[in-house]
Assembly symmetry: C2
Homo-oligomer: 289 residues x 2
Amino acid sequence: MRNFIGIDIGGTTIIFALLKGKKIVKTKKINTPKSKKGLIKVLIKNIKELKGNLKIKGIGIAVAGVLDKEKEKILNSPNLKYLNNFLLAEVLRKKLRLKVTMENDANCFALGEAILGVGRDKKIVFGITLGSGVGGGIVIDSEIYQGAFGGAGEIGHTTIKFDGIKCKCGNFGCFEEYCGKRFFQRKKVSSKELAKRAEKGDKRAKEIFKEYGGYLGIGIANIVNILEPDIIVIGGGIAKAQKHFLEEAKKEAKKRIISPLSKRNLQVKPAKLGEKASVIGLVYLLNQF
Amino acid sequence: MRNFIGIDIGGTTIIFALLKGKKIVKTKKINTPKSKKGLIKVLIKNIKELKGNLKIKGIGIAVAGVLDKEKEKILNSPNLKYLNNFLLAEVLRKKLRLKVTMENDANCFALGEAILGVGRDKKIVFGITLGSGVGGGIVIDSEIYQGAFGGAGEIGHTTIKFDGIKCKCGNFGCFEEYCGKRFFQRKKVSSKELAKRAEKGDKRAKEIFKEYGGYLGIGIANIVNILEPDIIVIGGGIAKAQKHFLEEAKKEAKKRIISPLSKRNLQVKPAKLGEKASVIGLVYLLNQF
């Protein structure tokens, strides 16, 4: 059995997983450090701990941000800016003397859900991750669709209101500003806290989720009108509150989708594999090593 | 040699072409009638004229609108509303006793440009048609990418300003309202007339084109952030004025594209095949009959 270590580096948390072949045998979750130095330190420490005396075939890293085509460098990560232009794979390779591969985290998420989650048996799967940022990944026939230069699926930075709120990336009206964590920050409440309030019947909380769902529906319709997938899978931390906004999102999306067939047949579903979806996608990639 | 007739039905004009194998030997251009009855009449009349005594293998129709998966019915054509839910292919088949096939006009445009135009040798081609409406077509490895239900590429109805201008399709802030003919109608001038004024150095005309180019850049960036093609080809009637807005569009797109590799490598070019691009795409499809 070949052993791997899969690491999902998100804007808020990092998940480590020890894999034996296609099986996840151990996981660990920590907060994402605020500096590059801090990140390297916790990566090395946790990899060594997980590895122990095992022989490791390689390490896979899922990371938020646009990577270069050979997946060696993080080119643009608006929510982990200290990683921009950093050769993370090379640094780890040198320090650990192990094979290291990187992939965009939302691509891994979409792949995980396409292979083992709600996207099973679907030809075209679009995965959206709702977290610090909003990520996206496209899987066609069980393979990640990379686009021409390795950067496809970046739904978070599509424009839904060209004169709207200024995004962290510098532009205006990005989808991420309306459906990422900053939406809730502007309302001065976390999605988790808001879900608690909504469950208690708080009217204002329900209204905020309705507004959020409307924005999500706009982004979904944009994906559908361009790419027309069979299914859109919703994941990421904010998706834990999906029951409060997903119906509204579907309603708004249906209004804005132009194809009557897509309106009728498109599926929009919460992810099935939970926060480990990206690591599961990595398992699949690592086993192709 | 097998003969075909190719017909491109746009919101404003219809182009007929007589094809001998892959060669266009005769074309004709007329205005698009305002009613279904009028349309059928001119289609039959012109097909019969073009056909003459020739043996025709089949007819191909490129039409603006979302078609059903088997391309037998026009499901939603915001700029030719009288065609909605109309079985155009079947009606012509019965009246003419000939094989008839339909395809979305922007898909044909993209295919034409991908095979013989500026998209030659490119893997992923996105074609945008700027006319009465704004259409889009995706070609990957020289084949039309249809999406899950045959309706991919509908960039005209993606949202670029969710609380923006009401579109003919009923929604708000569609790309088509900012980059189709209605943009110029709101300015009370045609793109052709405006181009004349801009060429004479009219400052206001140049400003209007700059505004238009900015909107086009937003739509282009949305395509790139999701699908990341190698090239975006710009066609349709309004594209005749491209020298007045294309540079501005590229500038705005570069601002909003998140992948540094795409920012650097993406090509945005005017179509090479002119108004016959869609018919040329049809030629390719018909020869696969």
